[in-house]
């Protein structure tokens, strides 16, 4: 298992990948991708138990579902750098005939992806289904899902949140990327959601908070705790407090880079802040 320095080095490289991918096609979503870079790296390199290669059914391994599919750049970078497909393929992001669609999909057969996402609010239901299938198959592995905080404004989430608690789907860990931003501004300005923690708890979930969601060690510690809370009759929610645009100073703490690519100059500034640790694709 990689050590903390290795995880941090990979995170830096993933940030470069994200910036270069969206810059090349002048489109995509760098803000949320950068905010979740530490989480994805830690999830795939440390937290999840996965089998060699890729099998859609994912029996005998942990599964991950990305519900807020627009942060595909970080997903693709980490999947590639975890061995699911060649790193060079990151060059094809959002281009015609690519497996790396703007939003993730199974349609082109990209290894590592098990469901299409992009239209928001659907991923938790899918994760619950996969978790229920694991129970039927006596497969004692965990299903993880990631959701944006703004995404919780979609009503289907609350159907899923109610179901998971009622049916004791306790092999599910749903992570909420709590960055407080969405397209039109801060979540508090667009549609204040009150206490997400209180809401999940009121629905019957166990909730833990990771205050430093951009700190690899804090994520490892928090997710390890989350794992210990599975199998106890309740689904587990992790509130991951992140900074949108993390690691690129002019992109941080703002919704402005939700869905905007850097220009040439901005790319150079961003890359200068993130050294090439493992080699660019």
């Amino acid at each position: 298992m990689p050590n903390i320095q290795q995880l941090e080095d990979l995170t830096t490289q993933v940030r470069r990948d994200i910036l270069r991918m969206v810059h090349k096609v002048n489109s995509g979503h760098p803000g949320g991708s950068l905010g979740c870079a530490e989480f994805f790296v830690t999830l795939y390199q440390d937290i999840m138990e996965t089998n060699e290669g890729f099998d859609m059914d994912g029996k005998g391994e942990d599964l991950f579902f990305l519900s807020n599919g627009h942060i595909s750049p970080v997903y693709y970078s980490v999947l590639a750098r975890s061995g699911y497909f060649p790193v060079d393929e990151l060059n094809t992001f959002r281009l015609i005939d690519s497996r790396l669609q703007g939003h993730p999909t199974t349609h082109e057969g990209l290894p590592g992806v098990r469901i299409a996402s992009g239209s928001l609010g659907q991923g938790m239901s899918v994760a619950i289904g996969a978790a229920e299938a694991k129970k039927l198959n006596n497969d004692n592995h965990i299903v993880y899902s990631l959701h944006g905080d703004g995404e919780l404004q979609e009503g289907q989430n609350w159907e899923a949140i109610m179901y998971a608690a009622a049916r004791k789907v306790d092999n599910l860990i749903s992570i909420i990327d709590l960055n407080g931003q969405q397209i039109d501004g801060s979540t508090d300005n667009v549609l204040p959601m009150g206490s997400i923690k209180n809401k999940f708890e009121a629905f019957g979930w166990t909730v833990i908070e990771i205050e430093e969601g951009n700190n690899v060690e804090a994520i490892i510690k928090g997710m390890a705790e989350a794992k210990t809370l599975t199998g106890k009759g309740k689904p587990v929610c992790v509130l991951l407090k992140t900074v949108m645009g993390n690691g690129v100073d002019f992109m941080m703490h703002t919704h402005a880079w939700h869905g905007k690519a850097p220009n040439d100059e901005q790319l150079e500034i961003g890359l200068a802040q993130n050294a090439e640790t493992l080699g660019d694709y």
Partner: protein
Amino acid sequence: MKTYTNTGNKDTRSGFGAGLTELGKTNGNVVALCADLTGSLKMDEFKANHPERFFQVGIAEANMIGIAAGMTIGGKIPFTGTFANFSTGRVYDQIRQSVAYSDKNVKICASHAGVTLGEDGATHQILEDIGLMKMLPGMTVINTCDYNQTKAATLAIAKHHGPVYLRFGRPKVPNFTPENGEFKIGKAVKLTEGSDVTIVATGHLVWEALEAAKALHEKGISAEVINIHTIKPLDDQAILDSVSKTGCIVTAEEHNYLGGLGESVARVLAQHHPAPQEFVATNDTFGESGTPAQLMEKYGLNSDAILKAVNTVLKRK
């Protein structure tokens, strides 16, 4: 003319229930999900036999579709059950992204389709669902005509890999197709041989088409009745073979003429064999409360309506 015997009125939804019960015993991967309509969908027996494979999701259809999509990951074959309106229009985007685009092996089983749902009225009487579902790439769309065919279709779709929309209804209607007959997805069934006019019908309108053919036979008009249970993929060849012989066609369905079977048939004819066609279908309208028979009469969906359409189309030959 070949005639068919009604062995007793039965509801198509009970055919679905019987098929599901059989699948429960024969296929351990089949799971069933329901959104608070277990009795209406006739899923009680499956639930009683296999409580561990039955998932009551409550009144939350979007979540049901998503859970079903997720269950396919791990090899399950989920059958979702609710009314046709809540199986399609209410959850279109969930089906589009999580099922169809993701190519998940989910069977969306929809009862109470069309106006024959009856007294509940237009909020529940979807007449647009065939169109919604057939537009989704990769989706198979099936509308069965009686109890036996619905049971056979339920068994057949479990063996077919890929998303399926199975549409059936509420009222008790004539049961006339063979018991334990083979159901071939995408293969039309020719019910009568004829030379003057082709009548292709789906769902509850198939029996009405046979009634119309009988009346036409007495008047010396020879009608070829084809049961199109699979609207997508459509059996183009069966339609073309018949129209090549008869030179005209009437399509009959309990659905809006926009987006339904009739439009699919018109596309085949326009491309390969232009011929006069008349549509027995609802005319871009919502339904209303009433008994199924009253509604079929008022909205022009019975054998009388088919006879009128045949008279019109014959004059256009």
